[in-house]
């Protein structure tokens, strides 16, 4: 994986404009995919409510820039914390529920947030969204502008790398092992002295916070946020990424994102109904290996 980051660093200089902006979006989505994996892959909570955190993150940074003139770094921090708080409140209700009930109630939250954001145009701009001008970032006396594509690329790469390292740290630390033990057998974990609710909530909150970070970075690359970011699409797509790439591996979901982008931008060029192909591919992958592409490769 670190080798992958090295390649991304070198590619930043070499890539032409088009693929580079594509790579930027891919990286933002990779953060999303890894964050979702923390919840889905590590504690087996199949949330359909992650669009809430994605949207909260996007609006978190955009509104901070518009109304608080907060600057980009503080804006990202606000988005991250907002995601954490919303995930905590939502999780306090949802995480108590099991299986299908959890899925349904998280989906309801996603629908509620989507409708509210469409309705409250004074705050969110509704369907049209809110555009934002990005101020310069000054780090240690150096001023950086995200309007420079190269700067923007490395800015996102840094956050991608930092998110990956943090989540890797969490999943490899004792906490990650506890998450997995709860995923594997919740009851047994309880009899070993762990409160399943508390640990599942922790995973949900961490996942929500990193999802918000992904949303805020995505909004910065688009330079705007719209109510669509709360839509059901953004709740389902991370499941697809995780299933293709391999749940519970962090790296796998990133492979899922890359594959999806490949289809979306290259395969679609010669066949517009590329999603059919993609759907078939998902079925084939899951038929061959329940743990996605990476699970298949690691299992050999």
């Amino acid at each position: 994986m670190l080798f992958g980051f090295f390649i991304l660093t070198v590619l930043g200089v070499l890539m032409p404009r088009g693929p580079r902006s594509l790579a930027m979006q891919t990286m933002a989505f990779c953060i999303f995919a890894m964050a979702y994996d923390l919840c889905f892959g590590y504690t087996n909570q199949c949330s359909l409510g992650h669009s809430v955190f994605f949207g909260v993150g996007a609006y978190g940074v955009v509104l901070s820039l518009l109304h608080l003139q907060s600057g980009i770094l503080l804006g990202l921090l606000i988005a991250f914390v907002a995601g954490m708080v919303v995930a905590f409140l939502m999780g306090s209700i949802c995480v108590r529920l099991t299986e299908a009930y959890f899925v349904i109630v998280t989906a309801l939250f996603s629908a509620i947030f989507h409708l509210l954001s469409l309705d409250m145009t004074w705050l969110t701009g509704g369907d049209d969204g809110l555009s934002v001008t990005l101020p310069d970032i000054s780090v240690g006396g150096v001023r950086l502008s995200l309007y420079d594509p190269m700067t923007n690329y490395y800015f996102i790469l840094v956050f991608f790398l930092a998110s990956y390292l943090l989540m890797r740290r969490i999943t490899e630390a004792p906490l990650g092992k506890v998450f997995i033990s709860i995923r594997e057998n919740e009851k047994r974990a309880a009899f070993l002295g762990y409160d399943p609710f508390r640990y599942k909530l922790a995973a949900f909150v961490l996942s929500g916070a990193f999802t918000a970070l992904a949303g805020s970075i995505y909004a910065l690359t688009l330079r705007y946020a719209t109510a669509d970011l709360f839509g059901l699409y953004w709740s389902i797509i991370p499941i697809v990424w995780c299933l293709i790439g391999g749940v519970g591996t962090l790296v796998g979901p990133c492979i899922g994102v890359a594959l999806m982008f490949f289809f979306q931008y290259y395969v679609s060029a010669w066949w517009t109904h590329y999603l059919i192909l993609f759907g078939v591919l998902i079925l084939v992958i899951l038929r061959t290996s329940r743990k996605g592409l990476l699970g298949y490769l690691l299992g050999r």
């Binding site: 906490l175 057998n185 974990a189 309880a190 009899f191 070993l192 002295g193 409160d195 640990y199």
Partner: protein
């Protein structure tokens, strides 16, 4: 004072009475056997003691403290460990990791993200020691799901021991295991009973009468006899249940 005290526990499932006024008093260091025909309520009693089920009535005391109705994770922290009749391991964790997770729960901050999985020496030493005690040291890096049933039973015991319990509840540790593996498990239980209090549910009456200091007989949710193995084997009521005479 008894280390584990069960007072007049009653458990109803709807109209069905699974346990009726069950009393049990286990002294420190004792190896207590619980026997009884199928459906006598043995496992239900364990489920009530360990917090898996809330009793309809009655109290459970562990080391003098009232633990009735507490959730399993709290009861575990108070010093109770248990195994399950049908093995409940973590299929995708290795032997070593499964035991590690249990030891970790006793740490002050079991969630600390800055502690490394590998480098915590007191945890890893204890985990390796437990692997040795139950005879799984050579298989410590195997996934739990790849173990034989007998080895899974041994892992169950190791996981129950990992939280360092004062009282250990073993629910049919030799059920469904080959005779050779069963012999190993029984030796392990005898060895453990020198160091801790154990309550053992066993289907095989011979094993219980051979190992245990004291035996409790359950039938249809009631305690029908209690005493030394000799007393129990002479007891007319027990003979009637087991021999149907």
């Amino acid at each position: 004072m008894a280390i584990l005290e069960v007072r007049e526990i009653t458990k109803n499932f709807g109209g069905l009475t699974a346990l009726k006024d069950v009393c049990l008093s286990v002294q420190e260091g004792e190896l207590r056997g619980i026997i009884g025909p199928n459906g006598a309520g043995k496992t239900t009693l364990f489920n009530v003691i360990s917090g898996d089920l809330k009793p309809t009535g009655g109290k459970v005391y562990l080391q003098g403290e009232d633990i009735t109705g507490l959730p399993p994770h709290k009861i575990c922290k108070k010093g109770l460990g248990r195994t399950f009749q049908l093995t409940m391991v973590f299929p995708e964790l290795t032997v070593y990791e499964s035991i590690w997770v249990g030891i970790n729960s006793r740490k002050e901050k079991p969630w600390d993200p800055f502690r490394s999985f590998e480098k915590d020496s007191d945890v890893s030493e204890r985990a390796e020691e437990l692997c040795r005690i139950v005879g799984l040291y050579e298989k410590r890096d195997e996934l739990a799901s790849n173990l034989s049933y007998g080895d899974q039973k041994a892992l169950e015991i190791a996981m129950a021991l990992s939280t360092d319990p004062a009282v250990l509840l073993l629910d049919e540790p030799t059920q469904g295991v080959s005779p050779k593996e069963a012999e190993g498990l029984i030796e392990l239980i005898v060895e453990l009973s020198k160091r801790m209090t154990i309550v053992l549910i066993e289907h095989s009456v011979d094993v219980v009468l051979r190992l245990c200091h004291k035996v409790t007989v359950l039938n249809e949710g009631r305690v029908i006899a209690e005493g030394s193995p000799e007393e129990i084997s002479r007891n007319k009521e027990v003979q009637r249940i087991y021999l149907g005479t």
